[in-house]
Symmetry: C2
DNA sequence: CGTGCTTTTGAAAATCATCAAGTATAGTGG
DNA sequence: CCACTATACTTGATGATTTTCAAAAGCACG
């Protein structure tokens, strides 16, 4: 075991994660990630090339344009993925959660940056190591293809939102999507700021705020605090998200 | 050989394509498509499950929401891929050319519709047949993953365009991208209408037309006829596409 | 030479952005 | 415990880009 790996292991134990000889076997995210394609008896192969690290809130761990030497698997937390224009305009292309992988880009450079918006735990693989692993476990390649296909579908849905939906429709779509993904009980907790939401939906923070207020006044949602939303009228919100309401 | 396949073969010969015993071996699109992952000696395996068809201009051959039973490989022509909102608003998510594959969606339904905007030749595979082929030729799965990764990068770039670029910047980006893809000599020939361009860039046809006119008056481009564009000042257009110019 | 379609151009309207305060909320240090 | 600061969020007034509505011009086709 390399020193860097020992360090990562130690960090992880401080974070309160018990480990036997095979950290991948006890990984919370395994069953929901591409790693599940590796059979139990071969998990040590995976652990040998995985490098687990904690990323504190606000830290950028992938930078658009950098040489894409590593592949990442998020095992806890949330990251925002974004692209920048030279003058600072930002487009958030998605939010990554436990089970998501990043850095698939075949090209030599990352196509986006990734920054933790709450503490994130990542598993890092070098591209070479991953390539060898994929050669030995074709099932994992299938999983990656499935995951990439799903991301592509989500990206197409987002293009429809950005290109053709109004601010109200964008917010309605966003809330319903968040609600579907994050099942945190009756409330919907937004892990991102208004600024993140704006840059994700192609709007400004003012428009996001105003639109939330309007949806609240119309009784479609309730906002007990800025990052907590209750959906009050799901039917109306759904109609709105599909572009069927004023 | 099944009757339907004989019919397809016959159609194809009418279209002027010579065939030996193995149509995949003589396919113009093979070298630029995922089919290239199949070694020459196994091409008959591919040909056995492929069903080649001509699609006339204007015909929709994939409908969003339909059960995704088939996988398609475009071997000639151009198709527009789009999503619709119930009230008719349309977002074109891309244009597919020879070598592109469609219908990767893992989910049971197609996420978009596909319509020929000039005569298109497609190779159709049933999902089951393809699955078996992929199991036997892991290299093809790798190719699909590479292709999906590239599509994902393009989709993220398009999200930046739709969410954060002005009309001028969108048109500049569009023209440069088209120019990079279609190397038809000195001119850039647009295969799609203004309406298609508008629905691809999240604009209206009027805005597209006005913006083209303005770019022409400023000397960045020349428009000898509506579907033919000459880039006059590539540097300025590039600056504009990156958001660095007024 | 109409007829229908695409494209272009003009004027008015609307949505959303920008500019500008003002209000919460959380964290810090006295 | 209370200012004090920093940050996020909200709200208001104004403005600009883009859309909508409308019509004319250009082209292909029968």
């Amino acid at each position: 075991m390399k020193a860097t790996e020992q360090k990562a292991r130690a960090e992880d134990q401080r974070a309160g994660h018990a480990h036997d000889l095979d950290p991948c076997a006890s990984c919370d995210a395994r069953t929901i990630s591409v790693c599940n394609a590796i059979p139990d008896r071969d998990l040590s192969r995976l652990a040998d090339i995985a490098h687990e690290t904690m990323i504190e809130t606000g830290r950028t761990f992938i930078t658009e344009g950098d040489h894409a030497d590593y592949f990442y698997n998020i095992t806890a937390g949330t990251a925002r993925l974004y692209k920048l224009l030279p003058d600072g305009r930002r487009q958030i292309t998605g939010f990554a959660h436990a089970g998501d992988f990043l850095g698939l880009a075949i090209s030599t450079a990352y196509a986006f940056s990734a920054e933790a918006i709450e503490p994130v735990r990542i598993c890092r693989f070098s591209r070479q190591d991953l390539r060898r692993l994929l050669d030995d476990f074709p099932e994992m390649e299938k999983r990656l293809l499935d995951a990439a296909s799903n991301e592509l579908v989500a990206a197409q849905e987002q293009m429809l939102l950005l290109g053709r939906k109004t601010a109200r429709e964008r917010l309605a779509s966003f809330l319903l999507r968040q609600d579907r993904n994050d099942q945190d009980g009756p409330h919907l907790y937004l892990r991102m700021t208004r600024s993140d939401i704006a840059d994700y939906l192609g709007l400004t923070i003012e428009t996001v705020s105003r639109t939330f207020t309007r949806l609240r006044k119309e009784g479609l949602i309730d906002i007990p605090e800025p990052s907590m939303i209750n959906i009050q009228n799901r039917a109306a919100l759904t109609q709105l998200a599909e572009g069927l309401a004023g």
